[in-house]
């Protein structure tokens, strides 16, 4: 009888524990490559994180670890996995291998790796077609430049960045056949000092417009200090150079983050690869300012064209720098070709650092 009572008590306890478990908050973790205050890449991911909290009040708890070096990220990712985070976003390319390693150890945790190409049962990858935005700002720059020289501050020569440079150049050349671009590499994602120096060097070489694929507003501010024009990157950077900014390419991760969190809450999460841009709102354009109306109109039409699928930055034929025409099927390059792009298109001078 006593045993029976004990058993009953146990069953009762288990019964009580179950609903308590169901109410437990879903913990969502983020790993950032820069500080949340970079006002660019990591900042925008953090905006996405806050959107999750706002979308599921009381149901989720979010955590982030910032400024995690890519070569030493495994521990930070595992730190989140072992403290009960069930959905973890690792938001830089270099977190790929560490994410996969930790994912193997924690099969019950879902991982989302930004901009990578290796997946697993519990590892999804996601990225955005930033090059669509770069095609638009390329057109603006091609119209606005007086010296026909545009400076491009690049972070790390990986395909995502190369594709951006190509799209930018193709956009600029489509409205200005004489345009030239100069690229300066920083070999870092967030390094305001080096980013600013690169912009300075480009301005010294005669560039009158600066665009950047790095995370801080430093290149934009540097251009503004010299009275030149520039673009914002990752977030709307208007506040850093109101008079000199033309527009910004904005990464909007919020809808994706909310969607994936909902999938985990509802138990429908699956590993997949998501690569979309203007059409799904993952890439957005800031306000078009400091430019004449015809340029603004051109920019808006291009944006609309890409959104509706009428315009594609990589419409064939695409000729590589070495003169070879790139293989092409549906009249445009496919997503895989863009995600693995490792060559400049014809017309860009210089070589990709090897």
């Amino acid at each position: 009888m006593r045993h029976f009572l004990k058993l009953g008590a146990l069953a009762l306890a288990a019964g009580l524990a179950a609903p308590a478990l169901a109410q437990e908050k879903l913990k969502v973790g983020f790993i950032y490559v820069g500080p949340v205050g970079d006002f660019g890449w990591s900042y925008q991911h953090d905006v996405g994180r806050k959107a999750i909290e706002a979308a599921f009040p009381g149901k989720v708890e979010t955590t982030f670890i910032e400024s995690v070096p890519e070569a030493d990220s495994e521990r930070a990712i595992e730190q989140l996995a072992r403290t009960g985070h069930k959905l973890i976003f690792t938001t830089s390319f270099g977190y790929m291998e560490p994410t996969l390693k930790v994912a193997k150890k924690y099969p019950g945790v879902k991982f989302e790796h930004a901009t990578g190409f290796k997946r697993d049962k519990n590892v999804s990858t996601y990225s955005a077609k930033f090059h669509e935005g770069r095609y638009i700002i390329g057109k603006i720059a091609g119209k606005m430049t007086k010296t026909n020289t545009i400076g491009y501050v690049g972070a790390v020569p990986i395909p995502e960045v190369i594709a951006g440079i190509n799209a930018f150049y193709l956009g600029a050349k489509s409205v200005n056949p004489d345009v030239k671009i100069k690229v300066a590499w920083v070999f870092d994602w967030f390094n305001p000092g080096k980013e600013g120096d690169a912009a300075k060097a480009l301005l010294d070489q005669g560039a009158d417009i600066i665009t950047q694929h790095t995370d801080s507003p430093a290149p934009l501010q540097q251009a503004a200090a010299r009275g030149k024009l520039a673009f914002g990157q990752a977030s709307d950077m208007s506040r850093f150079a109101e008079k000199n900014i033309l527009t910004s390419i904005i990464d909007d991760w919020a809808p994706y983050y909310v969607e994936r969190t909902r999938a985990v809450l509802e138990g429908t999460w699956e590993s997949k690869d998501v690569f979309d841009g203007l059409a799904k709102g993952k890439v957005k354009m800031g306000p078009y300012v400091n430019m004449p109306d015809d340029v603004k109109k051109l920019a808006m039409e291009t944006e609309e064209g890409i959104r509706t699928g009428k315009i594609d930055p990589f419409t064939c034929p695409i000729v590589a720098q070495d003169g070879k025409t790139v293989e092409c099927k549906d009249g445009k390059l496919n997503d895989g070709q863009i995600a693995g792009m490792n060559y400049y298109v014809q017309g860009i001078e210089g070589t990709i650092p090897k």
Partner: protein, 355 residues
């Protein structure tokens, strides 16, 4: 009225041992105050920053893993710093070690054999050693400041690594991303315990620390190094060859930094990729001074710095404290220790100005 530092006649032994402890306590107190001002519980912060990394088995392994390369590099640096030779470029020697050791791993990719790991370590040590020889020889031959040359060579090493992983050693299946293949099993330092990442490197570092301890305490060489740092002219008169000591301390320092490089790439990174150095070679300079330029001190302060680094991540997760706070704590700790050291040697006195 003014404050003056008056040199102490005698430095008491108790004081020497008590000072670092007091410095640590003062740093903790100031840190706690700041955490409290930020609206978090200082007690909880102490737990997350200091106690958990040392008691939780997983975290402790991570601490020791992080401390391993710091120990190896900083113990190498002791030899230079004791002799007042300023090797600021341990980071470069560390990278070269990783490149040479990693190079063996890449060349033997797919092979197995017990000889691969020792070969990697020897290659790494030779790489670091050769790289450290450059500033040493430039100094002894041409009198060029080793501070500048060793520092500048860090950037050269950085670029060399960059070239290799983008060019000849790039993973052919890696979508052209700048990284080498992942090392084969034989070229990887495997975890000592299930579920953690701690590997044999720690044992290696402790052995090196013990050897350094004996060298400084019991050998003529250790004495010559210290003498040439404290009183170069006297050392010269005693017949210690200045140039030979310069080269030797640089070679030791470079070889150990190189070994640390191999341990890091074979242990936790398991491939060559840009930025695997993480500035550990520079952090090790702080570690060496924090440990008052002794092998035991360097070993302990490697652990202290590692605890701070690991604690910082836990603090972000469980207390939602910003990362910058860690860097602040590190600076605070170093400041307290340096102030403590000065107060060891000098006493603070108030002097009334005569008018």
């Amino acid at each position: 009225m003014r404050l003056v530092l008056v040199s102490r006649r005698r430095i008491s032994r108790q004081r020497q041992f008590a000072t670092p402890v007091v410095a640590l306590l003062v740093a903790l107190a100031i840190g706690g105050l700041i955490v409290w001002l930020m609206g978090r519980s200082p007690w909880r912060a102490l737990q997350v920053f200091v106690i958990e990394p040392l008691t939780d088995p997983w975290a402790l392994q991570e601490v020791l893993l992080k401390a391993t390369p710091l120990m190896l590099i900083s113990i190498g640096l002791l030899f230079c710093f004791r002799a007042s030779r300023w090797n600021i470029g341990a980071e470069g020697q560390f990278l070269l070690g990783g490149i040479c050791g990693g190079g063996i791993a890449i060349l033997t990719h797919g092979m197995s054999g017990f000889w691969i790991m020792p070969l990697m370590m020897i290659a790494g040590m030779l790489g670091g050693l050769a790289y450290a020889a450059i500033p040493a020889v430039l100094r002894t031959r041409f009198g060029i400041s080793e501070i500048l040359t060793s520092l500048m060579l860090v950037y050269v090493a950085d670029l060399l690594l960059d070239y290799l992983v983008r060019g000849p050693w790039r993973d052919p299946k890696g979508f052209n991303f700048p990284q080498s293949v992942s090392f084969s099993d034989a070229a990887v330092l495997h975890p000592l315990f299930e579920g953690g990442r701690l590997h044999l490197g720690l044992v290696l570092a402790l052995v090196v620390a013990a050897i350094a301890f004996v060298l400084f305490r019991r050998t003529l060489f250790g004495y010559a190094v210290a003498a040439s740092g404290d009183a170069p002219r006297a050392a010269n008169f005693a017949g210690f060859n200045e140039a030979r000591i310069t080269v030797l301390v640089f070679l030791i320092s470079g070889a150990l930094a190189g070994l640390a490089g191999v341990v890091e790439v074979a242990g936790q990174v398991q491939q060559l990729r840009p930025g695997f150095g993480q500035g550990l070679g520079f952090t090790a300079i702080i570690v060496a001074f924090l440990g008052r330029l002794t092998p035991v001190g360097a070993t302990l302060s490697s652990v202290v710095i590692a605890v701070l680094l690991i604690g910082a991540e836990s603090a972000q997760v469980s207390l939602k404290l910003p990362y910058d706070l860690t860097r602040f704590f590190m600076g605070l700790l170093l400041t307290c220790v340096l102030v403590g050291e000065s107060l060891d040697r000098y006493s603070l006195e108030i002097q009334r100005e005569r008018t």
